[in-house]
Amino acid sequence: MSAIIILLISAILVNNFVLVQFLGLCPFMGSSNKIETAIGMSAATTFVLTLASMVSYLVYQYLLIPLDIAWLRTIAFIVVIAALVNFTEILMLKTSPLLHKVLGIFLPLITTNCAVLGVALLNINAGNSFVESAFYGFGAALGFSLVLILFAALREKLNLADIPAPFQGASIAMITAALMSLAFMGFTGLV
């Protein structure tokens, strides 16, 4: 139990996917302009990331390892992720059109979110078990969501600031991410 909590704290705060490991930056910069968008993206990512983390573990352990083709993992994972996203979309459309309406537009973007592939690879590098993989994926997604949503709120405030011309846009967003990352450095050593 405590091992799981440590894993979660590590994934959410200490080794935050976005601010410390630089994973999932594209959606982080792209979909953080409004809080509502950020929340939608977070929910969709959390779902896919947790699921992908589990499925990629199974594929690796029960398909790639027995066949002795672990070196094909990149291809295998990207195919699994794409299939998973597709499947999620269809399932959502069938079972809950409302959910699909809210999260649907984010789903295709997730395929190219390197956090999803990243979590699958990190799980394997760390030798995580199935349960650990699931929680690591979930924690990573929570960390991503936390930072994305807080950043979206910050960005709404940023829009009103009198920023010097060369720094407007992506530049100040990066510098803000730097200061956020600085704040997260305080969690160094927690686990």
Partner: protein, 214 residues
């Protein structure tokens, strides 16, 4: 219409599958060509790392293939807990002219500033340190991470030391009356590594007969 659709779907599927097959074939070829070299590189890297801990002039065997287990569940060794290991680990034997010239084994300093510090150390058959390296740690950047050889030479200060050199009381950092330097601003990390090294030497001493007759 639906027939046409089915046709185009099956055609697409066929095309995709043939692409996948092509990619698979090409990749397999690249893999087959590089496989041996990759394995060799991996072994080389490992060998190189271990040769630094146990210099090549002190052994003539390939210790990558000359190993024994540090099994936490059995009583093969006296006070295995001195090494602080958290799981069963592999240790390596160095031989010179078929005589054991030393052993290389992992240890963990559990009392680092931010948790475990994993080290690998070599001890010669006479009981002196041939080399210590930090394998992984989470110490504070700029303070405790000077135990890493890439950042400072501190870790080399253990070379040729043994259980009686310095005397046991001095096997700690200067601040606590010992012989090993601490870093400005950081005592815990170097103290932990020093203590782990001393304990590893004790472990070697306690199990000398077993270790040298493997």
């Amino acid at each position: 219409m639906s027939n046409e659709l089915r046709n185009s779907v099956s055609q697409s599927a066929f095309k995709l599958a043939s692409f996948a097959a092509c990619v698979g074939v090409i990749l397999s070829a690249v893999f087959a060509l590089s496989e041996a070299r990759i394995a060799e590189q991996q072994l080389n890297a490992q060998r190189q790392a271990m040769n630094i801990i146990f210099p090549a002039n002190l052994h003539d065997n390939d210790f990558i293939n000359d190993t024994f287990k540090l099994d936490l569940t059995t009583n093969d060794f006296n006070q295995l807990d001195l090494l602080g290991l958290r799981e069963n680990s592999t240790a390596y034997i160095a031989r010179s002219n078929d005589q054991i010239s030393g052993v290389i084994f992992p240890a963990i300093a559990r009392d680092g500033y931010n948790g475990d510090i994993n080290i690998l150390l070599g001890i010669s058959s006479s009981g002196s340190v041939t080399g210590v390296r930090v394998i992984s740690h989470r110490e504070t950047p700029g303070l405790g991470d000077l135990i890493d050889l890439r950042l400072s030479n501190w870790i080399l200060s253990f070379n040729n030391r043994s259980l009686r050199n310095p005397e046991p009381a001095a096997w700690t950092v200067v601040k606590n009356g010992g012989e090993f330097d601490q870093f400005t601003g950081a005592t815990i990390t170097p103290r932990a590594v020093t203590a782990a090294t001393a304990k590893a030497l004790q472990f070697f001493e306690l199990n000398k007969t077993v270790l040298l007759s493997l």
